[in-house]
Symmetry: C2
Subunit: 125 residues, 2 copies
DNA sequence: TTTAGTGTCATAATACACTATGACACTATG
DNA sequence: CATAGTGTCATAGTGTATTATGACACTAAA
């Protein structure tokens, strides 16, 4: 995995797992990669993955069955959606707005973004 | 100043100064706060501010007059606009797009963002 | 029972951001 | 000249992320 220098690795691992769940690539009740396995895959130390998993367990996203491994919590996806949506609108959006204003980005610059938003409008579920 | 735990302080200071320039609060040729002064203002060590200024000097945003202080470079604002716009579209926008898709954010959620973009469309300069 | 796979804990070492502090050269101003 | 304000460098200490490694308890399966 290609990590970003500006963000802690254990947070990026948590973000990656959360993204897998949000995308439905790992579903509720399913086992996630073991600490050792993911550490090897991502070329990272066991302890670093362990820290990510411990954090996610605190957040109620995953659960541990001792001797077996970690599993996606029953309502992980719904909670993740709620948490991340709230966090995005409250913390990230203001910074984005500020940049859009200062850099004077217009519909042409952000064409893809507007299209993506509009395609979300046409979804019924 | 209120710093974000997830990003290095010396980078946040650079971002803050760059933002002041982009907003026109500090213009070309103007002196920026001295290393010691800004360090006291932001309750940070001299060396940390020094690191931010050294970075900005490398980037050609500010220039040093020895014994006097740092000054905004002549074409700092234009270059900052170019650099940050490129960086935003290349690095930040893809991540934003991904979140908008996964969280299924629609025009209602991002109403303010769309308004801001549209108001930039109506600017002629 | 033995084996392999889980998480977990403890320890030590490395790297780096940040702090604290002192000293020095330079410039403007009295 | 002396003084105060600039940046700059060196040194040492602190905190923390990350690595490296070993050991242990638990579980499933041969």
């Amino acid at each position: 995995m290609d990590f970003n220098d500006t963000k802690n690795i254990f947070l990026q691992i948590r973000d990656w797992v959360a993204d897998q769940i949000l995308q439905g690539k790992i579903i509720a009740g399913e086992k996630i990669p073991s600490v050792r396995e993911l550490a090897v895959d991502m070329e990272v130390n066991r302890n670093t993955v362990m820290r990510s998993y411990a954090l996610m367990e605190e957040e109620g996203i995953i659960e541990n069955k001792r001797g077996i491994g970690f599993f996606v919590a029953a309502d992980a996806k719904v909670n993740l959606l709620k948490m991340q949506k709230r966090s995005f609108l409250k913390d990230e959006l203001p910074a984005i707005l500020h940049k859009v204003e200062v850099l004077k980005l217009n519909s042409e610059d952000l064409q893809i973004l507007i299209q993506t938003i509009q395609s979300n409008d046409h979804e019924n579920q």
